[in-house]
């Protein structure tokens, strides 16, 4: 989406005021630990996303962007902590400046500011993973499958898909529960309606006949059919002699309701019900705590078979051969079959009871409404409490555990509390003492009550129908979502897998037949890799740490390629190849250069060898790096830049701080000598730990330079170019005098002496030494472009010593071939 041109950081993290020009090219940031490399990475991430990943998330505790994003001395002025980034957006062919400060991290100042630019930067802010650290590599490679799935899904922004899957499942479950409730309410409404009508089944013929019997009494037109619009008391309102309103308590209907409720309760005390309860109790005794655990285990084992990915146990991630795992689990399951069957049968028996409970709950609720309608009111609190208890019983049956509670309820169910019977008797007495209605009033009350209950039944039926449709719709949507997303994710993971294998094979030619498998399965993502054709294993099983690092990098790059496609134009690799050996780092450099030519990488490392490797492969250009030497809280990071060094050395001497000046000069000389040796391909005695001292480096760098000047002079002589011969002779003489003035060649003999001696000098004694080194080092830079001079070779044959601008150009080709010798 973007490439970075330059960055300016102020009062941010460990940085006071620092600018860096990246020029849309790959760029390396090198320096020992604690010199400010991460400050650059944080600043890039902050400018682009408004966040610093390292300051948020697990393990960051009380650390926050607002409080700890600014430099420690500006912690109370977050508005001073800002990053200004100049980026190029290829799609729009625009250069844009972004300015963001820690006080308002979500607000970015853009110049120019257009909706198109904001849209692209908003998309970019969704991708903090443009920055990859070694810590993050590990989470992709070594994480357990469930966690890896989450990490990869988060990287690919797929976690929203998982959330949506969970939401759809939740919605489907919720509407199924609604359906069950609607079914129960409909069943209760049918009972209540039937009782009011005095019929056994709510069917059209019976309803019409019963209604017409009353309509005849009232001289109302008879009903012929029963539709959804039919009103059983149609015509009552227009009949002058009749009021549509029924009595407050319709005696006949109330008595029928009371009778129904009593029958429902009597069923609880019946032999049949008692037998059902006893038989369930007898079965429940079989389930001890141990058995119940086994039942849970049985569910777990069945699920584990479904979740098994042919590689490792989905519970503990221990590796299994597929057949052995299935055999092992099936053997365990056989032992649970008996328990499982009993539990299933028991569930069905409990459902039977549950239906009776629902029926009684409905009828008792109906009669409880009579209490306040009667004059004087009748106390029905026992009935109301009992209805609530029946609801709790249903919940307990659904939960099943604790078993002791379920058993206790089954033992209590056929004992109806005496207070209930007293409430019902009181209601029955009050209703019975109501005066009998006349035939016409009775018919009117009958039709009005029946119609009220028919309306309620129709509402319940409508709700049931709607709930059923909703449940079906939700299930279809959920199933379709699962099928389609699984299919699409399978394809995505397959593509990533292919891309990953291609990149990894590029890095590890000895593993030419390398294969990998990303296996998504029920919210997990298995990641197994081939080990020299001996089978698939988790990456941490046999591969070295270095291989795991490179796997992590390859997986990251494959994922980013898939995520952003052609828009993968910028990435920060923060010290990601710590464990990779130098041979493979060379391959990584080539891979990044060749496979991602359109991606600008910012690479941080504390390893100077790695930095040189990146330069020699051409992953980064000669000037596209910064080398930090130290960091202080007052100044922030300081780079190895000669102008600063000489000024700092002079400042030290002005304060008579020779010891510090001596140490700084030695460190700088070590740094710059390594650079010169690299540029001139000087012969240096090899050290396995790469810890080269100044004595190992500088004398060899000087010898190499002297040799190339002489070689250039020989070529000039072969061409009879006397002016150039004279120039090179003069250069050689000046160089050797400068070399002599520093006495540098002695150090190889006794490297431990000289620097201590420096520290014992006073400022005036040290100044000539400083001046001598400054003069000596000037021979290794072009006085025009200030870039280091470097050797150009073809194979083992050295051709030229030159600088970037071309002003310095010492050609070694002798007369046989065309040559040109120019020296400033």
């Amino acid at each position: 989406m973007i490439t970075v041109k330059n960055i300016h950081i102020k009062e941010f993290r460990g940085v006071r005021d620092f600018s860096l020009s990246l020029d849309q090219k790959n760029f390396a940031v090198c320096g020992p630990n604690g010199t400010g490399k991460s400050g650059i990475v944080d600043a890039l991430e902050f400018a682009l996303t408004g966040n610093i990943s390292r300051l948020v998330g697990v393990g960051t505790g009380d650390i926050s962007l607002k409080d700890h994003g600014p430099h420690v001395d500006s912690r109370n002025n977050p508005e001073k902590a800002e990053v200004v980034l100049t980026v190029f957006i290829p799609l729009l062919n625009e250069t844009v400046t972004l300015k963001r400060n820690v006080k308002s991290p979500n607000s970015v100042e853009l110049s120019p500011d257009t909706p198109q630019i904001r849209d692209i930067l908003n998309q970019l802010s969704l991708h903090p993973e443009i920055s990859l650290s070694r810590r993050e590599i590990i989470k992709y490679v070594l994480a357990e499958p469930g966690k890896r799935s989450k990490e990869v899904q988060a990287l690919l922004r797929l976690d929203d898909l998982e959330k949506m899957r969970a939401s759809l499942q939740k919605i489907s479950n919720a509407v199924n529960r609604d359906l069950k409730t609607a079914e129960s309410l409909k069943s209760q409404a049918i009972d209540v309606f039937n009782r009011a009508m005095g019929i056994s089944r709510a069917e059209e013929k019976e309803i019409i006949e019963a209604a017409n019997e009353r309509r005849r009494i009232l001289n109302l037109p008879l009903l012929e059919t029963l539709t959804t619009e039919t009103s059983l008391n149609d015509g009552l309102a227009t009949n002058d002699n009749l009021s549509e309103r029924a009595s407050k308590v319709v005696k006949a209907a109330a008595l029928a309701d009371l009778k129904g409720a009593k029958e429902d309760l009597e069923y609880f005390t019946s032999e049949d019900f008692s037998e059902i309860c006893k038989s369930i109790l007898a079965e429940i005794i079989f389930f001890t705590d141990e058995n119940i655990n086994i039942t849970s285990k049985e569910e777990l084992l069945r699920k584990s078979l479904g979740l098994f990915n042919d590689a490792c146990c989905p519970v503990c991630d221990i590796e299994w051969k597929p057949n052995e795992f299935r055999f092992h689990i099936n053997e365990k399951l056989k032992a649970f079959d008996n328990v499982a069957q009993k539990r299933k049968a028991l569930g069905q028996r409990l459902n039977q009871i549950e239906l009776s409970l629902e029926k009684a709950r409905g009828s008792l609720h109906q009669i409880s409404k009579l209490g306040s309608s009667l004059t004087p009111p009748v106390n029905v609190s026992s009935i109301t409490n009992y209805v609530q208890w029946l609801r709790d019983v249903s919940k307990q049956f659904e939960a099943f555990t604790p078993i002791a509670k379920t058993s206790d309820i089954l033992k209590e169910l056929n004992i109806i509390p005496g207070a209930i019977a007293e409430n019902i008797d009181a209601l029955e007495l009050a209703v019975s003492s109501l005066p009998d209605a006349t035939a016409r009033d009775g018919a009117r009350d009958y039709l009005v009550t029946a119609q009220i209950r028919l309306t309620a039944l129709r509402d319940c039926s409508f709700q049931y129908k709607k709930s059923r449709e909703d449940a079906e719709r939700a299930k279809i949507v959920f199933d379709l979502y699962v099928t389609e997303t699984d299919k699409a994710l399978d394809k995505i993971y397959k593509d990533v897998e292919v891309s990953f294998m291609e990149l990894y094979r590029y890095l590890n030619s000895d593993e030419g037949g390398f294969e990998a498998a990303l296996r998504p399965s029920n919210g997990k993502l298995g990641f197994d890799v081939d080990f020299y054709g001996r089978g698939f294993f988790p990456p941490g099983a046999y591969h070295s740490e270095g291989h795991q690092d490179s796997m992590g990098l390859c997986l990251y790059l494959a994922l980013m390629k898939h995520l952003l496609g052609d828009n993968f134009t910028f990435s920060v690799l923060d010290d990601v190849l710590m464990s990779v050996d130098s041979g493979h780092r060379r391959d990584v450099s080539r891979m990044l250069k060749e496979k991602f030519p359109n991606t600008q990488f910012v690479l941080t490392t504390h390893d100077e060898v790695w930095l040189r490797l990146m330069k020699s492969i051409g992953l980064i250009e000669e000037k596209s790096f910064i080398h930090f030497r130290k960091w202080t809280v007052d100044v922030g990071p300081t780079e190895w830049e000669s102008r600063d060094i000489w000024k700092e050395l002079e400042d030290n001497l002005n304060h008579n701080n020779v010891r510090e000046a001596a140490a700084l000069l030695r460190n700088y000389l070590e740094h710059v000598s390594a650079e010169i040796c690299g540029n001139l391909r000087a012969k240096v005695e090899y050290r396995a730990d790469q810890q080269f001292t100044l004595g190992d480096l500088l004398p060899n760098a000087l010898t190499a330079f002297d040799k190339f000047v002489k070689k250039g002079k020989a070529a000039a002589v072969s061409w009879s170019n006397n002016d150039l011969v004279k120039t090179l002779e003069d250069l050689g003489e000046r160089f050797n005098k400068a070399r002599f003035d520093t006495n540098a060649d002695q150090w190889q003999v006794n490297s431990s002496v000289h620097f201590n001696e420096w520290a014992n000098l006073n400022s005036n004694d040290f100044r000539p030494l400083l001046s001598a080194f400054k003069n000596l080092l000037s021979f290794f830079k072009c006085d025009e472009c200030r870039a280091s001079i470097y050797l150009v070779s073809k194979g083992y044959e050295h051709e030229t010593l030159k600088c970037s601008c071309g002003k310095t150009n010492i050609d070694f080709v002798t007369k046989k071939k065309e040559n040109k010798l120019i020296m400033h």
Partner: protein, 74 residues
Amino acid sequence: MLEKPLLCGILHNEIKHGPQPTMKRTYMPISDQVLEAFYEALEKRPDLIDLAARFRAEPARTDAALKKIIFGEE
């Protein structure tokens, strides 16, 4: 060129908030690609064809928003 889901999203926003500045989408996130496959599967079912349009028009994915999409306005 605008992808269909984004186009629907913009139209939806325009209906709700008035005309929006023209936007150019640089890429289609993977989650959108996956969802697109789901919407296309919905479109193939005559009984669910309306759902695809509703999913595209409503970018929110909260439980409440999803319920509204699946079951309508009620």
